[in-house]
């Protein structure tokens, strides 16, 4: 029976809803946790997971626009043999956004090499990621339901093909609370080149309270909106104003009043963010060796390297979920290689290969990789057929994502696509399985992490997902 529509009674129970159906014992202790949380007046106070977690935080290196599995992690020698021919019938049907049934198979110019102890093959586009492949579990049989960007991006983030549902970052924050008081716990670091098709609703909290919303980082040295004082105001003066607010608010409290106290706390927190967060954003004090590891200070890696390093610094300070987006603006500036797979992917890979590998290495040497799950991938892969001669179209029926850290067993490949990379044929992994696995590593149960909305018990996974057992 679908578990998305279990009974509840009223709004006050909304937080305890998260734990229904999870055993009375668990329920009781969760409700106790909740009461503690309510008593502290901070809805973001840390909350115990449903079971012992392996990971505390997630960094999603989001390769937006749909990186080709065929040019990265899923070598298909047959493609070069079939180059220029129509897809053989035995591979079955596919629906694309642009290319038609007349399209011809496109061979790949990439070469693949075995890396690490595991000997997993990675293309020459991503040699640095190849060098850390033993920490990575490559999921070669991912699939989603939609072949257009916006709907596929919604599904990747929220499990639904429609906007309006909470993203995984919001769900995780809702489930676990925050471990930092001075930084926003769910951060999206967009590509300064511009927007993605699904727009901001993809990252949003949907119907969850606004406290679980993401903070959209801005390009440049001052990433958080409203964190800086207006130009004509001095910090000492503003401190006095905040003191006045507190004194006047306290003067108006009669007896104990947890809600008013929570609002007074929110001002203290805001002031702390204002004074402490800039330190977290300042990567200039990182040793040169670390900057070099990520590729800060040189092109074409500088921008993505800075953002990956920022993500590490935030996770270090207790941030739960950071999404570092590669790709933004018109298709050519994303991994959306309709026109020329070579030109596009060589460029996009060069921007991200070293920063992503640097991130994994840096997390590992700091002992943070065990508790930080890194997810790599896009909203779909790309078609075995050519679009316009040199490009590849969107393709959602079989493509690659990968995970590392946070208790994920690296150095292995899960699942497989068919011989031309069209369909996920072995051990297919849907987005819902990716979500379930991430929640599992964080100690969260997909059914218990739920919220009553319009009469339905909503959760991240609309249809029950499966934990990818071989990698946890």
């Amino acid at each position: 029976m679908p578990l998305h529509c279990r009974p509840t009674r009223n709004r006050r129970e909304f937080l305890t809803d998260a734990f229904c159906g999870f055993g009375t014992l668990a329920l009781t202790s969760m409700m106790f946790e909740e009461q503690l949380r309510a008593a502290s007046g901070n809805p973001l106070a840390p909350k115990a997971p449903h079971f012992a977690p392996k990971a505390k935080a997630v960094i999603f290196v989001f390769m937006a626009g749909g990186p080709s599995h065929l040019e990265t992690f899923d070598p298909k020698p047959l493609l070069n043999q079939l180059h220029g021919q129509k897809r053989p019938k035995e591979f079955g049907e596919a629906k694309y956004q642009f290319v038609t049934n007349e399209a011809k198979i496109l061979g790949t110019k990439r070469t693949f090499k075995k890396y690490g102890q595991s000997g997993i093959e990675v293309s020459d586009l991503l040699p640095q990621i190849g060098s850390v492949i033993d920490d990575i579990a490559v999921l070669r049989s991912c699939h989603g339901d939609m072949v257009v960007h916006s709907a596929a991006q919604y599904q990747l983030f929220s499990g639904r093909i429609l906007p309006g549902f909470p993203s995984m970052g919001s769900w995780i924050l809702y489930g676990l609370g925050a471990e930092t008081n001075s930084l926003p716990s769910y951060a999206v670091l967009p590509d300064p080149d511009g927007a993605l098709e699904a727009g901001q609703p993809m990252y949003m909290h949907g119907f969850l309270p606004a406290v679980y919303q993401p903070t959209m980082f801005r390009a440049g040295a001052k990433p958080i909106l409203n964190l800086d004082l207006p130009a004509n105001v001095k910090l000492e003066d503003r401190r006095q104003t905040i003191d006045l607010i507190r004194n006047l608010n306290q003067a108006a409290i009669q007896g104990s009043d947890s809600e008013f106290e929570a609002r007074i706390n929110a001002y203290d927190l805001a002031f702390r963010m204002q004074t402490e967060a800039p330190e977290a954003f300042d990567i200039s004090k990182e040793p040169k060796e670390t900057l070099d590891l990520y590729g800060v200070g040189k092109e074409p890696t500088d921008d993505y390297a800075r953002r990956c390093l920022l993500a590490r610094r935030m996770v270090e300070r207790g941030v739960r979920f950071a999404c570092v987006v590669s790709g933004g603006g018109p298709g050519g500036l994303q991994w959306d290689a309709h026109e020329d797979i070579e030109e596009n992917h060589i460029r996009m890979a060069a921007q991200t290969d070293q920063p992503v590998a640097g991130l994994l290495k840096d997390l590992k040497r700091r002992g943070m990789l065990d508790s930080t799950l890194v997810l790599w991938g896009g909203e779909f892969g790309r078609s075995p057929e050519a679009q316009g001669g040199k490009g590849r179209d969107h393709h959602n029926l079989g493509f690659t994502m990968w995970m590392a850290g946070g208790g994920i067993k690296g150095g292995q490949v899960v699942g497989a696509t068919d011989a031309i990379g069209l369909h996920a044929v072995d051990n297919p992994i849907h987005f819902r399985d990716v979500h379930t696995t991430i929640l599992n590593q964080l100690g969260l149960n997909q059914d218990a992490l739920s919220y009553m909305h319009l009469g339905r018990k909503e959760r991240l996974t609309e249809v029950q997902g499966q934990v990818i057992r071989s990698i946890v």
């Binding site: 629906k95 727009g199 006095q240 929110a266 319009l454």
Partner: protein, 662 residues
Amino acid sequence: MNSRVLLATALAAVLIWAAETGPGEKYTAVERRHWAFQPVTKPELPVFTLAAEKVWAKHPIDAFVLAKLKKEGLKPSPAADRSTWLRRVTLDLTGLPPAPEQLAAFVNDSSPTAHEKVVDRLLASPSYGERWAQHWLDVVRFGESDGFEYDTHRSDAFRYRDYVAASLQQDKPYDKFITEQLAGDEIDPNNHELRIASGFQRLGSLRKNAGNQEVASSRNEVLTEMTNIVGAAFLGVTLGCARCHDHKFDPIRHKDYYRMQAFFAPVHDSNVVVATDEEKAAWESQKKVVEDEIKDLRRQMKGLKGEERERMQQLVRNAEERMPAPPPSLYSVQNDFDKVTPVHVLSRGDYQNKGERVGMRALGVFLPDGAPELPADTKTPRLELARWVANPSNPLTARVMANRIWQHHFGRGIVPTSNDFGRMGGRPSHPQLLDWLADSFVANGWRMKPLHRMIVLSNTYRQASRSPMETAAMGKDPDNAWLWRHSRRRMDAEQLRDSMLAISGQLNLKAGGPSVIVPVDGELVNLLYKPSQWAVTKDASEHNRRSLYLMHKRNLRVPMMEAFDAPDFQTSCARREESTHAPQALELLNGALANRLAQSLAARLDRETKTPAAQVDRAYRLAAGREPTAKEKQLGIDFLRKQSLREFSLAIMNLNAFLYIN
């Protein structure tokens, strides 16, 4: 064959049938018995013997509430003081704070009808329609852009917003309001107001994409949106749950869901151009200039590669930006009986997984078993649907609306889940009161203003938000479901922004018309797929209009509104959350609007008062609707000795006394 064998055979047949078809099409007595599906009753009023109780329970609303309080061993709180009541009722009915002059006039009005006069003034003010329109727009997930990738603006959708505000303002009967939205175009296709109203069908987000079109799945999504919103908005049932399977908890069969959807099978988008012939011609000719230019560019582009091609594409994009806005039209729908989408029962809601084809019929649990579908050639399908939804005998419609009104006055509905009156929704705390309200609502010709008037003039509504027996009462009823006091609430995003504008003297009360795009942080605009869509309204005085008139763009919400729990226009919002978090404080401390308006409030205080004491006094009257206490006054005066009036004004807009409604 003897009768025992016959009986056994029949029983076996029934069992096999039941096993094969699940619960089948019939609805059992148990399913039909759910409280919300019973006819609205006219409950008897509780009787009181004690004189004090008789006085308090003078109105039926108070009688029902008091009876319940007594039963639970609770007592009502004393009446709030006059200034608290005035601020509460003014913000509830108009979304704006009372002016200090109104406060003084009311506090000094000793006539026995002082309260009535206030309520009548508020209900007659245009601000009432503007305030309550937002509540309805939340429910129908009103947005002014398509959402998804292109998020194309619906430059004419504002007419629906104005229609809602005007309908509420003129106290249009709710049954008429429903009928116009469901079937305005069927009633009179030439009536502009009705055409605008039936734009209701098109309010949901809409997926469009380049390349191969998924016509069938997109159409399925559109019909799903049209169907589900009827359940959420009018009926208070979670119809959407029956899209994939029989409803797990409520008696709505999978098949009945699609019979509801069948009412919308002929509905298609329709934009009724209302421009004059000259306007149309002018637009056509301007459009042609740009189109020709683009055609020319495309011709030149042929064969070009690399950077040159990219440069030409940029020129094309530039030209596209110059495309003139289409002449005004009405964002509406109409039936096209040549293009009726065949409606099938879809297994798991999958449009490719078609089962039996079905026709139009209202929800079966409200009909006799085996009730026929409407004839396929019914000429006004949605008018038929509206007749059923807006019928006084429909047990849900009046209850659901009466409950919404109650919810917005008390912070909690009698049924706490105001979009879900099903078996998994909350039970009514005061079922008889709900019936009494629903019955009076219909008896008063489905008019909302008399309902508001009764509610806000009741002793229940007049209670203070603090009770002398608070500790004991909190132990028994922490949610205040039994209404032993008035529930304090934080202003919602619109009340907050509008109040900031009002107290700083900046509020522009211009009503209606195209929506306003206010400046927001440039980096956020850059996150739009087409940043040029966020074309800030040139006339800066427009930026100070009420929040109702802010552009409701799905892919970019004004950060301040978002931080204070404004909904996202994607799904129906029955009730706003009230969260408390640091970004709210950052918004009100460092946000551009707060700082700009602090400056204006400071200028106003400087202009209207002479001394620091008077400034503190005036600020409290404006923002909190009351005088400051001695302690507050002293703190304010001490601050003003060292710090600026602007910083003091900013503090005022951050106070709980301002942000909360007691």
